[in-house]
């Protein structure tokens, strides 16, 4: 122990004496394997794993592997093309597609091109990424905020449904002027989600029922409840419709588009960014946020310090549910305009992966939401062009988070030096009973 301290002291002294240049500092900090390096390498490794998976399961490639000994070059080339081709399509669907630019310059006049939507087509992939990222960021915040307070919210799915149901109902059920209607529906989404989030919080505070199990149960209850609501015309099913789908919300309740009618990016994205900023402010600049983080670190110490642990649990779950409800509202008011029995999609799972990749911090959640939003935006094009199933996105998300959660594994793979910075595992590792 004292040897280590001595060695560290000596290193410290040496550092002061030599004053390394900026390049050296950057190189050292990368090799040290801090959180940023580990996250980037985790993402990179996950893409490699996904590519290998693609290369070894694609049916065309499997035929080529069959002729491995007669034509090894062909097999390897096919595998490489398949793996890389899928990612290229994903990139073109989510960030930038060169074909749209050439199409733009083939137009006779620039103003006509803008009018016909050729310019919008250039930005469409980015717009789609933002559209996909909007609910992911909001739902990710719904997991990240309780995470900071030492709770694990698996119930984003049910809370999203709660928000969707109320936002949709207010959307077609009442008639209001344009701006007012948008605000009322968004608030309705918040309230709907908050109500569903409140139940696990209140039960944890009053009875000690663990929020993980209660939120999982709430998810299933909400799924069946949604199916029930959409089964009867006197509840929420659209009239004269045999499918489980609601009526469309009024045009006044649509979230305003940001860049014209050709791009789907809407005010929901700004709302998501604002919520991320709000959560950051709440956690880092308010007394309530300080209490939340203290309770997350050590509930019994917080209790001894005079904080009301139970009340904070309820508040955190209420806010988290509200954020997830907002995610539901942005989907309904921004892109879908109706709710059907599968509207909740995979938001519950995606929210967890987004929060974990974002290390439970609001800024991280925004970046993680954008990354996974890009994956979701690019996946349909990837499947259409290369035939790689969209489920690849779920695999990538899970592998990324798995690696992010185990920094020692990444450090060992890339022979990085150990650093004090921990990943998810370091942040919170405790049992049910804590």
């Amino acid at each position: 122990m004292s040897d280590q301290a001595g060695a560290a002291g000596a290193a410290e002294a040496q550092k002061k004496a030599t004053r390394p240049g900026p390049g050296r500092i950057i190189r050292d900090s990368i090799l040290e394997g801090n959180t940023f390096t580990v996250t980037v390498l985790a993402i990179f490794t996950a893409f490699v794993v996904g590519g290998l998976l693609n290369a070894f399961t694609n049916t065309t490639v499997l035929h080529a592997w069959g002729n491995l000994f007669s034509d090894p070059g062909h097999a390897i080339a096919t595998a490489w093309d398949t793996a890389v081709g899928a990612y290229i399509e994903m990139f073109e669907g989510s960030i930038f597609n060169p074909h749209t630019v050439s199409a733009l310059f083939q137009q006779a006049s620039f103003s006509a091109a803008i009018h016909d939507g050729y310019l919008s087509a250039v930005f469409n992939p980015l717009s789609e990424t933002c559209v996909q990222a909007t609910p992911l960021i909001l739902a990710g915040l719904a997991v990240a905020l309780p995470y900071q307070a030492g709770m694990f919210n698996i119930g984003a799915e049910g809370q999203v449904i709660g928000g969707m149901v109320l936002a949709t109902y207010l959307g077609y059920g009442i008639s209001l002027p344009f701006f007012v209607h948008v605000v009322v529906c968004v608030l309705g989404g918040f309230v709907g989600g908050a109500a569903i989030g409140w139940i696990p919080g209140e039960l944890k505070a009053r009875t000690g029922a663990h929020e993980v199990i209660v939120t999982i149960m709430m998810n299933y209850i909400m799924i069946y409840f949604l199916a029930y609501l959409l089964s009867f015309p006197y509840l929420m099913q659209a009239p004269h419709n045999t499918n489980q789908i609601s009526a469309a919300i009024a045009g006044n309740a649509h979230l305003p588009l940001l860049f014209g009618s050709h791009l789907r990016i809407n005010a929901g994205f700004l709302l998501a960014l604002a919520c991320a900023a709000g959560v950051w402010w709440l956690l880092n600049r308010t007394t309530t946020g300080f209490e939340m983080r203290s309770i997350g670190k050590n509930p019994s110490a917080a209790r001894v310090a005079g904080m009301n642990v139970e009340r904070t649990w309820v508040l955190v779950m209420l806010l988290a549910g509200g954020l997830a409800g907002l995610a539901g509202a942005t989907v309904i008011q921004g892109t879908d305009f109706t709710v059907n029995f599968q509207s909740y999609g995979t938001y519950g799972i995606d929210a967890i992966t987004v929060a974990l990749l974002g290390l439970g911090r609001p800024g991280g959640v925004v970046l993680a939401g954008l990354l996974f939003g890009a994956l979701h935006a690019g996946a349909p094009l990837m499947q259409a062009v290369t035939g790689t199933p969209v489920d690849m996105v779920e695999v990538l998300q899970a592998v990324i988070v798995l690696f992010v959660a185990a920094p020692p594994l990444i450090r060992a793979m890339y022979r990085l030096r150990d650093a004090r910075a921990g990943g998810v595992g370091g942040v919170m590792s405790k049992g049910w009973n804590a």
Binding site: T207, V214, M218, V390, E394, L402, G431, N433
Partner: protein
Amino acid sequence: MTIASQVLTDQEIVAEAQVSPFRKWLAPATFLAFGLINIFVLGAYSHKGDATFAFSQPFAKVTVPNLSLPAAVTCYVCGGITIAIALARAFLPLSKVLRRVAIGVVMFLFVLALLCWADAGLTTAFNIVNLLQGTLGQSIPIMLGALTGVVCSRSGVINVGIEGQLLLGAFTAAIVTSVTGSLWLGLVCGALAGSLVGVLLAVFAIGYRVDQVVLGVVLNTLVLGLTGYLFDGLMVPYQNTLNSPSTFAAVKIPLLGDIPIIGPVFFDATVFLYITYFALAGVQIGLFGTRWGLRTRAIGEHPIAADTVGINVIAMRYRNVIAAGLIAGIGGAYFTIGSVGSFGADMTSGEGYIALAAMIFGRYTPLGAISAALLFGFTTQLQSIMSTLNTPIQSDLLLATPYVVTIIVLAGLVGKVRGPRAEGIPYIKA
């Protein structure tokens, strides 16, 4: 750290002595609600006539006569008894055993009233044997998953990845059986697939000390994505060669299978039900009657003490988590080669999470977990039979009842459920 947790325990004991009014009145209020539903919903709205129950299947060697009950009157009687129990629960000091019996009786009376209401005035008899047989079938994966959860939890590792173990087991069993044509090989490989998820869980939870709830959810996502990906990419294009397994046929046990009611329910089923019996007996006897069980419970409750007396905590946790995965893998194989006969994306549809709830519901004991799993299976089966009877009840709401019941139970209907003390806390050897 040890001292801090000790202080917390004392506080918790004090807190538990003063039962909150919410907690105190929850159980009687729930019972009362059931009683009122029996009388004012089921009794008042039931059709005129009798409800008939059949207890034997067609062509049974020994038959049992049908039972006819006047529907409305039965509902009223059930409701009356339930309300009496609610009052007794509220005002009499009942022992722990009696309180549990009360829950069972209230549930039974409610189901009886519900069945009377559903079958009132119908010419077809309601077949109880079909209901119970279906219940066991529905419960098999939940029971096996819950047993896996019990072994992992008792070893001190939270296993939220049961869902992933079931799903990978189902996928692997389907593909292996389709390719080789051997059901038994499919079963073994399904079990190994469950174990493979167990290996990942063990390496990351025990080795890399990742938060175990997080890890379980991530592993479930990984398996969900992976099987969905391979299903779309390989199984759909090669449906005939990769996704058309045969299924195990029911095996009737001689003599036992001919006993009325009990025989067809318990002794005339696929091999999966018999495996479940052995798994239950194995885990129950293993945990509470062998040296392995004592050590397992020790590393789950107090790993430091266990380490002090020479138990290798880390190695034992690895072994238990990986071995327990075999059970859930078999439960997963049931989906494809036990019942459906083909794999579908996300075909386990959250049953692993229900198994997790069943484990907690059953207070981390094998028998309790199995009972809870049976309750969930019963509700599912009841719903599917009710929907064929054209009852006005909403099937979606009925399907949601197990989840509501779980929340009510967790909220303190049967007292606080306390898991193994060291569950979810990675062991760091000093």
